[in-house]
């Protein structure tokens, strides 16, 4: 049968161009877009809310005094505005927390991802994540009434009743689940073929974990640590309860110390009238915390781009 015959017999093909509006689709899209914009708007709103009082603060307080003086007492008379003690307080508690959480969290992640049987993983991982659900106020009292007294009994050094060490340790415990759980997710996502390849070359389990899986999961692990650091730097309740409120300029973790977050809580729960310098100080410190956290995120993103191993 020739082509001409076919065209005579066959019905004309139906046009494709019958467009039909799918209303459900556009509603879903609008809802999703709203959700995305809402989180952006929240961030912008926070920045905007911080900005105005922060500018107001710096019209009264010299930027040089703020960043160079080691005397912090914005609520005292006469007030002093050297932010260094609260920055060091934050750094010390955060560094202690990270020193606890990164090794333990990574070890837990390596164990769960590379050593544990499926059955053990099914029990341990949710248990670990429960730790993340403990109210920080409870952890704060755990630090104050258990960790600190034990340390004071056993340590050869002088330890204050309120101190950065105890607070840092317990903040570290608090963020272990973040490091462990997210790192384990990243390591579990490493293709099994890479593990098999490494085992087939005569690697031990430890070698596979440390030289193949961990590097391949690097970007996920760094993301987990960043989140943990941000969480530690911003942690308030534990520090308020266990580290005290005295803004000593010190590098000794056994001393009492004030962090940025705990200052904000302390001042914010006081009665500084709106528009006063004391009130604006809260926002200035908040801005600084925001900027520091942002810088850390940015720096880590660069680090990840540089060192990550892309599989697939």
């Amino acid at each position: 049968m020739g082509m001409a015959d076919v065209s005579e017999i066959a019905p004309a093909p139906q046009a494709l161009g019958r467009s039909r509006r799918r209303h459900g689709e556009s509603v879903v899209k609008a809802v999703l877009l709203t959700a995305a914009l809402l989180s952006v708007a929240t961030t912008v709103g926070i920045v905007a809310a911080l900005l105005e009082p922060t500018v107001g603060f710096f019209t009264h307080v010299g930027i040089v005094e703020f960043f160079t003086s080691t005397d912090w007492g914005p609520l005292f008379k006469p007030p002093s505005f050297g932010v260094i003690p609260v920055v060091t307080g934050t750094l010390i508690t955060t560094v202690i927390a990270i020193a606890v959480a990164v090794p333990l969290g990574l070890a837990a992640a390596v164990y769960l991802s590379e050593y544990a049987s499926a059955r053990i993983r099914r029990v341990i991982k949710p248990t670990l994540e429960v730790l993340a659900g403990i109210p920080t106020v409870a952890l704060g009292f755990f630090a104050l009434t258990l960790v600190t007294p034990v340390m004071r009994d056993w340590s050869p050094f002088e330890i204050s009743l309120k101190n950065g060490l105890s607070a840092g340790l317990v903040v570290g415990v608090m963020i272990i689940p973040i490091v462990a759980s997210l790192s384990e997710d990243a390591m579990a996502a490493v293709p099994n073929g890479l593990r098999e390849g490494a085992y087939a070359l005569g690697s031990s389990r430890m070698t596979v974990a440390l030289r193949v899986v961990l590097p391949a999961a690097f970007s996920g692990v760094v993301a987990a640590i960043i989140l943990a650091v941000s969480r530690a730097a911003g942690e308030t309740m534990i520090v308020v309860i266990a580290a005290g409120s005295n803004p000593l300029f010190t590098v000794n973790p056994a001393d009492e110390m004030l962090t940025m977050a705990s200052f904000i809580a302390q001042a914010g729960s006081g009665d500084a009238p709106v528009g006063t310098v004391a009130y604006n100080t809260i926002f200035a410190v908040g801005s600084l915390l925001f900027v520091l956290t942002f810088l850390m995120n940015w720096f880590s993103a660069r680090l990840v781009r540089r060192y990550r191993e892309v599989y697939e």
Partner: protein, 285 residues
């Protein structure tokens, strides 16, 4: 020997005048002696009662339909099955006169001596150099890794293509190059045996030809076992072929069984077992 392999892709083996002694097809100088090998996953016996000899510096092909247990058997030779929870082996695999599954045997040492190349190229997400250097480093080789890496890449017929970009990511290579890199990575550990689990099934025909040529070349120095679902490939490259199939026993459970093991030319021209013949002819139409 291997008359079927008068193929387009590979020169006949006699063209090589390397250290490899001319083979006597009748006799087999065994590297592995497998006897009564069964593999269990939990209570399920996936492979039952395999007897097989693997000849020194020969290429042995394991063929058969899906689910016949050929890959499972291959993964016994370097104890990769140990890594699967619940996997268990009975019977014996002698490597020369040593039981691969003996009590005193370290599976890590087994895997160092018996290398493996996988179905999907699986280079590490590291540089080309670091991929090849991985094995020597892990196994504590110190000193000039550069020459070790170069030698392995030359042997894997990849050196000319990558010598100017050893620092580039292994994942920037094509699939066929990645697979040759995986072979180079295996060679760098200086194994005696190389296991290949469908090494060309993810590759295009040109890359496949390159790997097959390479296998012929490597067989002068290494004993090679290859699992393939491509019968022409088995016919082209191998000296001996083991045909596996899945059989249902009295209780209705399927087990992988070795049906026939012989010189490749005989398996493909004059098989003894009806099942082998059916499989071969079925595929060739």
């Amino acid at each position: 020997m291997n008359t079927m392999a008068g193929s387009l892709s590979s020169p006949p083996k006699t063209a090589f005048d390397g250290p490899k002694a001319p083979r006597d097809p009748a006799s087999l100088d065994p590297v592995f002696t497998v006897s009564g090998l069964s593999v269990f996953y939990g209570d399920y016996e996936a492979v039952r009662g395999v007897d097989l000899n693997i000849g020194h510096r020969e290429i042995t092909a394991l063929i058969g339909p899906s689910g016949c247990g050929k890959s499972t058997v291959l993964r016994c030779f370097n104890r990769m099955n140990d890594l699967i929870a619940g996997a268990r082996v009975s019977g014996k695999i002698l490597y020369y006169d040593e039981d691969v599954y003996g009590d005193h045997v370290d599976p890590i040492e087994v895997r160092r001596r018996i290398g493996m190349v996988f179905q999907k190229p699986n280079p590490f997400p590291k540089s080309i150099f670091d991929n090849v250097a991985y094995g020597p480093r892990v196994n504590g080789v110190k000193g000039d890794l550069g020459s070790v890496v170069e030698e392995a890449l030359v042997k894997a017929a990849l050196w000319d293509e990558v010598k100017d970009k050893l620092k580039a990511s292994a994942l920037s290579l094509s699939g066929g190059q990645q697979q040759r890199l995986c072979i180079a990575r295996t060679i760098a550990v200086k194994p005696e045996v190389i296991l290949m689990d469908e090494p060309c099934s993810a590759l295009d025909p040109i890359a496949t030809t390159k790997i097959e040529d390479l296998m012929q070349e490597l067989a002068r120095e290494y004993t090679i076992l290859i699992v393939t679902h491509n019968m022409q490939q088995a016919a082209r490259v191998s000296d001996r072929t083991a045909f596996f199939t899945a059989e249902v026993d009295d209780t209705g459970v399927r087990h992988g069984r070795l049906v026939e093991f012989d010189e490749t030319s005989r398996i493909f021209t004059n098989p003894v077992d009806k099942r082998t013949e059916d499989y071969i002819t079925g595929r060739f139409g």
